[in-house]
Amino acid sequence: MTLATSSSLYRAVQRRRNRGLLGLYIVVTAFLILYAVLFPGILSVGGFSKFTQNWFPLALVAMAQALLMLNGGITLAIGPMVSLGAVIAATTMGGPLGTFGGFLAVAAAGLCIGAATGAIVALLRLPAIIVTLAGSFIISGVALIMLPRPGGFVPEWLSTLLAGHTPMAFLLLVLILGLWKIFLATPLGLGIYAAGDNPVGAYRSGVPIDRVKIVSFALSGLLAALAGLFVAAQTGSGDPIIGTPFTLNSIAAAVLGGVGFLGGKGTMRGAVCGSLLLSVMINVMFFLGFPPVAQYVAQGLIIVGAVAVPELLGRWRTNR
């Protein structure tokens, strides 16, 4: 059956992409409900704002990672990139560039460093994982030189704007997801999927796969640097090593969200959901009063369970 109206093609495609994520959606919703039961304050504006603020940077880096994984790549430089973003924000905003100039500097640094990494990977055909590993040392070195110890300055109003008692972070996340949707509706954006899935086929179909790769690295760098900017605003200053834990967490969030390593498989909303699970899990475990040992153990089990349970259910259903 062909579609009744052609205008619904876009929506139909979107709906189909949600289908594989049902298991994850259920798990995440269950955790959110549990959280709301344990801490009803989350339903207030303030509680919601604070919660989403703490989740926001992880959501951004999960997106940054998923973007590359969809294109068949990966980056180990997410953490240092976050640190560098925070450092640039904290060192420039107090200076002659001003707040807006600082913002531009962060964005430009993210884009340029990302594009440069992408160019090395795409044009020299080197494995992304090791190029970005090398890149992570270089980037963290730069961050350490710019700001050898935590400090710097971020204007108070920016902190209040982004990380005050308003759900600004959440709105920004919605905005960024919207922009991603629009980007995915461009030939270049969809090219990320095509080139990640079947690079030879995409090349033969006329997709500029090298350009796609460079663009995805650049955008990924931008997202990570912006996450750094947000962290700087949230904390009121820069810290040259604050981003380190984000590298592994971004990968975990993306994979939890169903993004595959071989490229082309997965969705951005899945990755964001994965990051939400990682984030809400921390709060739920706190309110359940888990001691640290149980926190570690439960975290391991939840992560494995979130992937394995939908898989097992699916298999059980098909075997019947």
């Binding site: 350490l144 149980a294 494995v304 394995a308």
Partner: protein
């Protein structure tokens, strides 16, 4: 000309030459770098990475990745002194017990990957988190000084001037190279890494081989943990952490494809040497930490430009 071609087409050889070149240049320019004792020390350091990366090589060849290597090393190093019974004068009982635990952890990773179909990266990452919890539980996460004679022997003796750890590495290398190139299971790992579906339809059991593979990875990580414990005489929480990324980096620097199905441990060996050498070089250079980090990254990138050429499509 054709010699040059052979070298360029052979990543392990190329990486070896690179190590030799770096040693030569550093030995001529930096005081003390080329001293026999220093090179021997570098070899000794590389042996820990090399042994940890043995399992990682196998896992990566089969298209997976093991992020629990560091945690397994730490767990072994911390548990071993507790597991060595006082009545055993050789200390071998403790060693066997610790290795059994390491293999068991690997086996669980394999179960998750093969039976629950959890992507290996998630499974092993979760396992690493889980092990942190276990560490906090066991002895409050604290170490006991090792009294185990076998471990001390391994870490401290130098038969014929060669550190025992290096001897162990040579043995491990021989075994792993044999396993990859001379045993059926090596060919199966490679086939599964390159095309799991075709391999399965050719009668290669995914479940069985995945279980064996991750158990092996656990075993080698455990072995590295024991060697490290012997060299330091004391384990502590976090002792294994540096070996997670270095084990992966050594594999990739050695020309093994991170996507699986192509590569050899013969490349990982010089890969491990290269990493240790680079770190040592950076340590003796007098620069601020930021600059040192930049130099390390640039060196890796530069070396990759030379040795990673093969990865071109």
């Amino acid at each position: 000309m054709s010699l040059l071609k052979t070298i360029l087409r052979n990543p392990p050889l190329l990486t070896f030459l690179l190590v030799a070149l770096v040693w030569l240049v550093a030995g001529l320019t930096l005081r003390g770098f080329g001293a026999f004792g220093h090179l021997r020390y570098l070899l000794e350091l590389a042996s820990v990475i090399g042994i940890a990366a043995a399992g990682q090589t196998l896992v990566i060849l089969m298209g997976g990745i093991d992020l629990s290597v560091g945690a397994v090393i730490t767990v072994t190093a911390i548990l071993l002194p507790l597991l060595s019974p006082a009545w055993d004068p050789t200390g071998l009982v403790g060693v066997v017990l610790a290795l059994a635990i390491a293999i068991g952890i690997g086996f669980l990773n394999g179960l998750g990957a093969a039976v629950l179909r959890v992507p290996p990266i998630i499974m092993t990452l979760a396992m690493a988190t889980f092990l942190q919890g276990v560490l906090v539980l066991v002895a409050g996460g604290s170490a006991v000084t090792v009294q185990n004679p076998a471990v001390i022997l391994l870490g401290q003796t130098r038969p014929l001037g060669v550190p025992a750890g290096v001897v162990l590495w040579v043995v491990v290398s021989a075994v792993v190279l044999m396993l990859i190139h001379r045993m059926p299971i090596g060919a199966r790992f490679l086939a599964l890494g390159a095309n799991p579906l075709a391999a399965r339809l050719s009668g290669v059991s995914l479940t069985r081989n995945t279980l064996i593979l991750y158990s092996l990875s656990g075993f080698f990580a455990g072995l590295a943990g024991i060697l490290l414990l012997g060299m330091n005489r004391q384990g502590y929480v976090g002792i294994g952490d540096p070996y997670l990324l270095t084990s992966i980096a050594a594999v990739v620097l050695g020309g093994t494809s991170i996507l699986g199905g192509r590569g050899t441990y013969a490349g990982t060996i010089p890969g491990a040497l290269l990493l240790v050498t680079t770190t040592a070089l950076i340590t003796v250079v007098n620069a601020s930490p930021g600059w040192r980090s930049i130099m390390f990254g640039s060196l890796i990138l530069g070396l990759l430009l030379i040795s990673g050429r093969e990865a071109r499509r």
